[in-house]
Symmetry: C2
């Protein structure tokens, strides 16, 4: 296999993983939107610091197991949660 | 099902999706690291603007199909690519 063929194979894998990533993130937002509605309809508090710190700890441990930088995993989670908060704010207004 | 039970069920789904997300991102970094080595060993240019814009277009289209904000999908891809570049810079130094 030439280096360019090898590169092409790697890129197919990256594209497949990106597809999976988008689908998973889309499904995650579907659920967090449902959570937002559930909380609003039942006067549950929008934020839950205990749950959030437990999520961070779970993901950091899993990242270590997967040879992923735990700081990056935490930053990624925060990046996604920021978008969840934006959805909830949009839904409220 | 009480609202709190319903919330618990949603949170289990979110945890499962986050686990999948971490595993997929970890696998993506394994491949981009291999790509970095391949490019360095074969004097291939580290950046490929044509490939990158094609990736962005693919993901934006897929996001639309998955009811995900395409701007968010693009920001997410850029967030991950920034980490890939950081890895490549670490590998070089």
């Amino acid at each position: 296999m030439t280096p360019l063929d090898e590169l092409k194979q790697y890129r197919k894998s990256i594209d497949n993983l990106d597809d999976a990533l988008i689908r998973i993130v889309a499904e995650r937002f579907r659920i967090t939107k449902a959570v937002g509605v559930l909380k609003a309809n039942n006067d549950l508090p929008p934020a839950d610091p205990a749950r959030e710190s437990q999520q961070v700890e779970r993901l950091r441990a899993l990242a270590l197991d997967a040879d992923l930088d735990p700081d990056f995993a935490e930053k990624l989670l925060n990046f996604i949660i920021k978008e969840v908060i934006r959805h909830h704010e949009q839904a409220r207004s």
